[in-house]
């Protein structure tokens, strides 16, 4: 990582949803701010800016990360995946589809972070047990749904990954 100076901007380059991007950022700029306001990928939301609510969760090199606790400069050379990268063209991914079928979102503000966490979980552990799913979801705050339909959606998509019906 190059040496950064406080009053200068520096070039940061990373892959966003498979596309190479770059931006000039000051060393203290948060990853959320570069994604949302420099690049214009506003699907990642900011709920608390101190790492508790989970709304800003993105995947950095496959791992879920709180984008509000990461500096843009730290993203240099990494592969970042956000909610905008889940759907294939205009077709929702099975995880997104399961959320829609199960009414697992209302206002949709916390949803992006939850999707990125579950997507990372299922890519690592496609047959995750309900306890594991709940453990992963416990890092996210949702004020609308009461969580029940989110768990249902997660179980549905897990079952679909395993070859079962999505509405199980």
């Amino acid at each position: 990582m190059p040496r950064l100076t406080q009053d200068e901007t520096h070039e940061v380059r990373f892959t966003l949803n498979g596309r190479a991007v770059s931006a000039r950022v000051s060393p203290r700029l948060l990853l959320t701010d570069v994604l949302r306001h420099e690049i214009g990928a506003t699907g990642t939301h900011v709920g608390c800016e101190h790492g508790v609510c989970g709304a800003c969760t993105v995947q950095v090199d496959g791992e879920p990360v709180r984008a509000c606790l990461m500096l843009a400069a730290q993203a240099e050379g990494s592969e970042i995946r956000t909610v905008e990268g889940l759907a294939k063209r205009e077709q929702l991914a099975p995880l997104q589809e399961a959320f829609r079928e199960n009414f697992a979102l209302q206002c949709g503000f916390c949803t992006a972070g939850i999707l990125m966490t579950l997507d990372a979980l299922f890519s690592r552990e496609p047959d995750a047990e309900e306890d594991t799913i709940r453990e992963a979801l416990s890092g996210h705050l949702c004020r609308c749904t009461g969580y029940v339909p989110i768990v249902q959606a997660a179980l549905a998509v897990r079952n679909r990954i395993k070859g079962g019906p999505i509405d199980a």
Binding site: R36, C107, Y147
Partner: protein
């Protein structure tokens, strides 16, 4: 569920039209909206004090900081606006920004406008505000005391409104009843805390004296009038827009309106568009919360448990300012203060009090949680005191099914219901008998298990006149009547025959666009996708009125109803057009599967688009009695919502749903943690338009209520310091804490709404906290007097009730203590150290700037400003935040060279601290003993965000000071013997006596 063209959409759980965009990251929330080039960012300077005079605001350094365009104080704002309207007659002003006094932690004191948010925040830290702290009061009962600090001197006290009401003959009923049973109830502050915070973008056009403001405001749009008046412009010079998506609100985003005024003024001064997105600390400390309330409630009770009268005494805490529409929280339930019960006599005393806390505002449940907590705890107390079955007491008092529509004692017209049947169904289908068996088994095994009940009438569609019940009948007569609940909807058909619906309902996730598509598609016999709905508002373009917005659960009963009426009117028009083209009577026209045709003759039909397009493409061919306007706008208000009567009767809401809840709760025998074993909630919300969304509302409200019951509290110190400024301090329930409730429905359609629907969004926020409290009370004490339950019910509160008070530590070692509730966040402590220096030498050091510089942790530039006064800049990391503070240190009560009192005060952008310590020097055989005893208080941002770490961090800082004093006195250098002993001793001081 798949869309099926032959069945109506209403009543089915169709997938939501909102979801694909939201799931793909294409939502358009406040901070996602495009902004004009040159838009500036704004950051607030906020009060670190609960109550203080502003002596001066020095903006020079901030104004000179990089990127800064403007620094704006309360005086600058005041010079351009009018005080915001206050909803009661009182000699008090209500400014959106502090002018010469701050009254709650987080109150805006100055605004910094800069080229980006980072620079604005940098500069905000450079605004130097000199405060003279005043005594604070945070408890509403204490605020009424004779000697309490007064927030608004013009009021002469903290009581801003008091009214007494009398319905029926409560005195006679109490005299005649064999039992008078009462309880006192404390309901704390909490808030439904949306995950998206407030946001505002404002611009100002001087040529037209017009403000253009976009905010994630949620209504009611009566607030538009408040903002326009305050900005001193007519309504048409305040264009208010809302973003298409809003990240939850639950009432809270009503409270963004003072910021609309402030951003408008900031844009005017900065001569550029200005944007502000609230951060989480700002949101928790200074958006709005629900009110906290102290209630005394008494009932006159017959021998069989029948209640003949209620006597309410409510003290409502609205925080530092009475902001519109407060004191609405206290009056929203006014018509249904008898709950689900047939009680004919009632007395009510309502007092509204101001304290040094954040002003209150809309919050899901709005008045219901506070009121039902008292009423349903009382029902539990009545059963206990009279030795009756709790359900029997409830059943004996329910409004009977044949009494609807039922006029309550205080004037509400309960529209429909069959409470007894709904309750009995819940008991059967929810498995109460089985739950009782579980409880009995648990108790037989020595476990603490309880069952609680709660019965609630859930009001929806507020009467815009209910708040005027706070005025006397004479004041109301003078002000003119207020009533109704205008809902608007526009349905339009374009030249290609597709249908657009526009409403001013401003949803925050409730799926309004889907439900309206269902309602209107059914009306026209169209597929769901043929109808497109907009629900965000632009006050310059859309149909709206004062009741517009998303609150009081008014969407399904009022807004969807208005859309139904607008679609019906347009359909009638199309029927006439089609009838002429099909050569049939308008009454025989059908709308089915995208076609308009003749009933009973499938061959005689036209496509919907063709008929609908006629008015656009060939208006000349329309029948004579059909006008060419393919757009219907409906303003709907129900006649049942009348202004308060001269006797203070008020039908405060149009619809009244019914909820009956019961639950089983077990308290862990070792940790005292309460856990919901089973929760059953029965709802009658009238006709259900979308079952999955209704259940979504129930589950969401339930989860927030679980938070209010077990976790959430806006915590304040007695000095007004705010102590729950992060989501790690203000705990929201996660997936781990929220069980799945069993949801049951009983439908009795409302006769007063176009679709028969009632509101459903808020009920569990009213029923669940008290249902849980009743279950916990049952677990703690199955019989006998009801234990006092105060939310949130934490293990820490239950443990002393179960295990008795914690035994006093046998260790006599004096310890640093933090008393969060006694007097601000107060730390006290004491310690001693023996050093190899004379008393005189140590004394000299204490008066020497160079020594002080060396021993005050993080100090630089200690200046002696008087014989016994010093000033210093100090850089300290307290808790998680490191910041610069300006410190004043004073020595007093000097008794050279034996004793001295050290007082210090530190102020910085991150907070403030103060304290004093008595230091005594005594000769001992081993050297001079330095003994100290101190008291310190910490407030401001560090106290809000670092509460959990603060005590330890402060201990370390104070310990460091005395350690450095000892080191300085005893000389440096490593060694053994006395020095090593000293080190050990000092180590023990620094770790609070535990080594």
């Amino acid at each position: 569920m798949k869309d099926n063209a032959t069945e109506p959409f209403v009543g089915r759980s169709v997938t939501r039209v909102e979801d694909q965009a939201l799931l793909s990251g294409h939502g358009r929330f406040m901070d996602d909206l495009p902004i004009a080039a040159g838009t500036l960012a704004l950051a607030f300077v906020r009060s670190p004090h609960g109550h203080a005079e502003i002596r001066s605001v020095d903006m020079a350094e901030a104004a000179a900081a990089p990127g800064v365009v403007a620094v704006i104080t309360g005086r600058d704002v005041m010079a351009r606006i009018r005080s915001m309207t206050v909803g009661v007659k009182a000699d008090v002003e209500c400014w959106p920004m502090a002018v010469d006094r701050v009254r709650y932690v987080g109150e805006p004191v100055a605004m910094v406008v800069a080229t980006d948010r980072y620079l604005a925040e940098d500069a905000a830290d450079l605004v130097a505000v000199d405060y003279a702290p005043l005594g604070a009061v945070v408890d509403p009962v204490a605020a009424l005391a004779e000697n309490a600090p007064v927030l608004h001197p013009s009021l002469g006290g903290n009581l801003i409104n008091e009214r007494r009401f009398r319905y029926g003959d409560p005195e006679a009923a109490f005299d005649a009843a064999p039992h008078r049973i009462g309880i006192d109830v404390t309901y704390p502050r909490s808030a439904c805390t949306p995950i998206e915070t407030y946001g505002v973008i404002a611009s100002y056009e001087p040529g037209e004296d017009a403000y253009d403001i976009t905010a994630n405001f949620q209504g009611p749009f009566s607030i538009h009038a408040v903002v326009a008046r305050s900005l001193k412009v007519p309504g048409n010079r305040l264009r208010l827009r809302t973003p298409p998506d809003s990240g939850g609100s639950f009432g809270i985003k009503q409270g963004v309106f003072p910021y609309m005024i402030l951003l408008g003024i900031a844009a005017r001064i900065a001569q550029a568009p200005v944007k502000w997105i609230e951060d989480r600390l700002e949101h928790l400390s200074a958006s709005v919360s629900a009110t906290n309330r102290q209630t005394r409630i008494e009932a006159a009770v017959e021998a069989d448990g029948r209640i003949t009268a209620l006597d309410w005494d409510q003290i409502e805490d609205c925080g530092a300012h009475l902001r519109a529409p407060e004191p609405a929280t206290l009056y929203r339930m006014h018509g249904n203060m008898t709950g689900a019960y047939d009680i004919r006599n009632m007395a009510i005393r309502n007092r509204v009090v101001l304290t040094n806390k954040t002003p209150t505002g809309l919050n899901r449940g709005f008045g219901g949680p506070q009121m039902y907590f008292a009423l349903e705890r009382l029902m539990d107390a009545i059963a206990r005191q009279m030795g009756l079955d709790r359900l029997d007491v409830i059943r004996r008092n329910l409004v009977p099914a044949n009494a609807f529509p039922y006029r309550t004692a205080s004037g509400a017209l309960l529209d429909s219901g069959d409470y007894a049947t709904a309750l009995n169904r819940a008991v059967d289908e929810g498995g109460l008998a089985e739950l009782c068996a579980r409880r009995d088994k648990a108790r037989a095994e020595g476990r603490r298990y309880g069952i609680g009940f709660a019965c609630v009438v859930e009001p929806s569609v507020s009467n815009m006149g209910y708040i005027t019940t706070v005025l006397t009948p004479q004041e109301r007569a003078k002000a003119g009547p207020k009533n109704g609940a205008q809902a608007t909807a526009t349905v339009a058909i374009d030249p290609l025959g597709s249908v657009t619906v526009k409403v001013a309902s401003v949803p925050q996730g409730q799926g309004h666009r889907t439900v309206l598509a269902q309602v209107v598609a059914d009306k026209f016999g169209l597929p769901l996708a043929a109808v497109r709905v907009l629900a965000d508002v632009d006050t310059m373009r859309d149909a709206w009125s004062i009741a517009s917005g998303n609150y009081a659960s008014r969407f399904a009963p009022a807004v969807a109803g208005a859309a139904e009426i607008a679609a019906s009117r347009l359909r009638d028009k199309l029927a006439k057009v089609a009838a002429a083209q099909l050569n049939i009577a308008p009454g025989d026209v059908t709308f089915e599967a995208g076609r308009i045709g003749a009933a009973g003759n499938p061959d005689n039909s036209l496509s919907f688009a063709r008929v609908a397009a006629t008015a656009h493409w060939s208006p000349g061919t329309l029948p004579d009695d059909v006008d060419q306007t393919m757009r219907e706008t409906v303003y709907w208000t129900p006649p049942e919502l009348e202004a308060p009567t001269a006797q203070d009767g008020i039908n405060s809401s149009l619809c009244h749903g019914f909820i009956f809840d019961f639950c089983g709760i077990e308290i862990d025998p070792e940790t005292a943690e309460p856990k919901i074993d089973r929760y059953v909630t029965m709802h009658d919300c009238g006709r259900i338009l979308h079952p999955a969304m209704v259940d979504g509302q129930v589950r969401g409200g339930f989860a927030q209520a679980v938070g209010a019951a077990f976790l959430e509290e806006y915590a304040y110190g007695a000095d007004g310091s705010f102590q729950s400024g992060t989501l790690a301090d203000y705990l929201l329930p996660t997936v781990m804490e929220v069980p799945e409730p069993l949801i049951l429905h009983h439908e009795t359609p409302s006769p007063f709404t176009p679709l028969g629907a009632k509101g459903v969004g808020e009920g569990n926020c009213m029923s669940t906290p008290v249902c849980i409290a009743n279950a916990v009370a049952d677990a703690l004490a199955p019989d006998g007097p009801a234990p006092d339950i105060v939310l949130p019910i934490t293990a820490a509160k239950l443990a002393p009730l179960i295990f008795g008070d914690e035994p006093v530590s046998k260790e006599p070692v004096p310890e640093t203590q933090a008393e969060a509730s006694a007097n601000g966040r107060k730390l006290t402590g004491e310690g001693r150290a023996v050093v190899q220096a004379s008393r005189e030498d140590i004394w000299k050091m204490l008066l020497d700037p160079a020594t002080l510089e060396a021993i005050i942790p993080g100090s630089h530039g200690v200046q002696k400003v008087g014989e016994t006064r010093f000033k210093a800049d100090v850089t300290l990391g307290i808790g998680p935040v490191r910041g610069r503070y300006k410190a004043d240190i004073e020595l007093s009560d000097l008794d050279p060279p034996n004793a001295v009192t050290l007082s210090g005060r530190a102020v910085g952008a991150l907070g403030n601290g103060g304290g004093h310590g008595r230091v005594t020097l005594t000769d001992t055989a081993e050297g001079t003993e330095i003994a100290y005893r101190y008291e310190a208080q910490i407030g401001g941002k560090v106290a809000s965000v670092g509460g959990r770490l603060l005590d330890g961090a402060a201990k370390v800082v104070i310990g460091e000071f005395f350690r450095a004093l000892a080191r300085h006195s005893g000389g440096g250098g490593a060694g053994s013997g006395p020095l090593a002993r000293l080190r050990r001793l000092l180590q023990s001081i620094a770790t609070g006596g535990r080594s």
